[in-house]
């Protein structure tokens, strides 16, 4: 059956990359603790913080579920809405999965996407701050 054949061949085509990627992510998870990331990114405020928040998350692996707790910690630390949105968007770049991406979609696609992701995250941050922070700002002014 064609289905079985596709599954079989794709699986082995992908096996060593998947193992490699899992190792990368596992190592990262254990060596770069969430607390470190939270400390590093701070509030994501200021130019430097913003740039960090738009680029660093690209290096992280995991799924949305694993990333949300980290984001919650960031928010509790006082991160701006835009910073959080930028973080999520940049994280969508998923650089650890590069081997997989280049294998199936080619280097040009992968590199182009990665570089655009930074721009994507940047714009997201600005937009989100503009749309979501406004009511909060009003409250702050009242204080």
């Amino acid at each position: 059956m064609i289905v079985a054949k596709t599954v079989y061949s794709t699986f082995f085509e992908v096996l060593d990359i998947i193992v490699a990627v899992s190792i990368f992510i596992g190592l990262f998870q254990v060596w770069v603790k969430p607390q470190t990331i939270v400390k590093l990114l701070g509030k994501g405020s200021g130019i430097k913080g913003f740039i960090l928040v738009c680029t660093f998350p690209i290096l992280m692996g995991g799924s949305l579920f694993t990333v949300f707790p980290l984001l919650k910690a960031l928010k509790e630390k006082g991160a701006r809405t835009g910073a959080i949105a930028s973080f999520i968007t940049a994280w969508g770049g998923k650089a650890p999965l590069l081997p997989l991406e280049t294998q199936f979609l080619g280097w040009p696609f992968a590199l182009l996407r990665l570089s655009l992701v930074v721009l994507f995250a940047f714009v997201m941050g600005i937009l989100m701050d503009w749309v979501v922070e406004k009511p909060v700002e009003a409250n702050v002014n009242k204080r």
Binding site: M1, I2, V3, A4, T6, V7, T10, F11, E13, V14, L15, D16, I17, I18, V19, A20, V21, S22, I23, F24, I25, G26, L27, Q29, V30, W31, G61, S63, L64, F65, F68, L71, K72, T81, I84, A85, I88, T89, G92, K94, L97, P99, L100, T102, Q103, F104, L105, P108, F109, L112, R113, L116, L119, F120, V123, M124, L127, M128, V131, V132
Partner: protein, 163 residues
């Protein structure tokens, strides 16, 4: 043949890093190994699911159909369709790329794939409830809408550049 070698190179690099980590801190490396297995354990089922999906599509959906919906001729509309599919896709990120590559080989345009990849990873129908709870309704709705729209433009750009 070259493809297989690339995978093996990555694996060698990964194992090398593992070895360095082991020499630095044994306990941490053991934890890393546990994390790695946990990740593999989580990824494998989804990956297999996606491969089966790919196999089914291969068997039952013609190249022409894929090309007509997601291909270059459909252009911008194809990107939107791809994004819609990505939004409801229940994949984990590692499964997104094989699937995307497969669609591309069967006629989908780069722009469509880009749209698919962005929404598959960044918009999760399954994670919406959690996002609501953690960040509020306004944030969630705003972020998802912006992501969809921005992804569209970026996908369009990528299509132009890569064509």
């Amino acid at each position: 043949m070259n493809d297989m070698r690339a995978g093996q190179i990555y694996l060698i690099v990964a194992l090398g890093l593992m070895a360095i980590s082991y020499m630095k801190e044994k306990q941490r490396t053991r934890e890393a190994l546990k994390a790695t297995f946990k990740i593999l354990y989580t990824i494998m089922p989804v990956l297999i699911f996606v491969f089966v999906l790919m196999g089914l599509i291969q068997a039952y959906v013609s190249r022409e159909t894929i090309a007509s919906i997601l291909g270059q001729k459909n252009g911008a509309l194809g990107i939107i369709y791809a994004e819609l599919i990505g939004s409801i896709a229940l994949f984990l990120p590692p499964a997104v790329f094989p699937f995307g590559g497969y669609l591309h080989n069967n006629g989908a345009s780069y722009g469509s794939i880009a749209g698919f990849v962005f929404t598959a990873i960044l918009i999760g129908v399954t994670t919406l409830p959690l996002e609501f709870k953690l960040f509020g309704k306004r944030f969630t709705i705003a972020r998802n809408i912006f992501t969809f729209v921005l992804a569209f433009f970026i996908a369009l750009l990528m299509e132009e550049i890569l064509r």
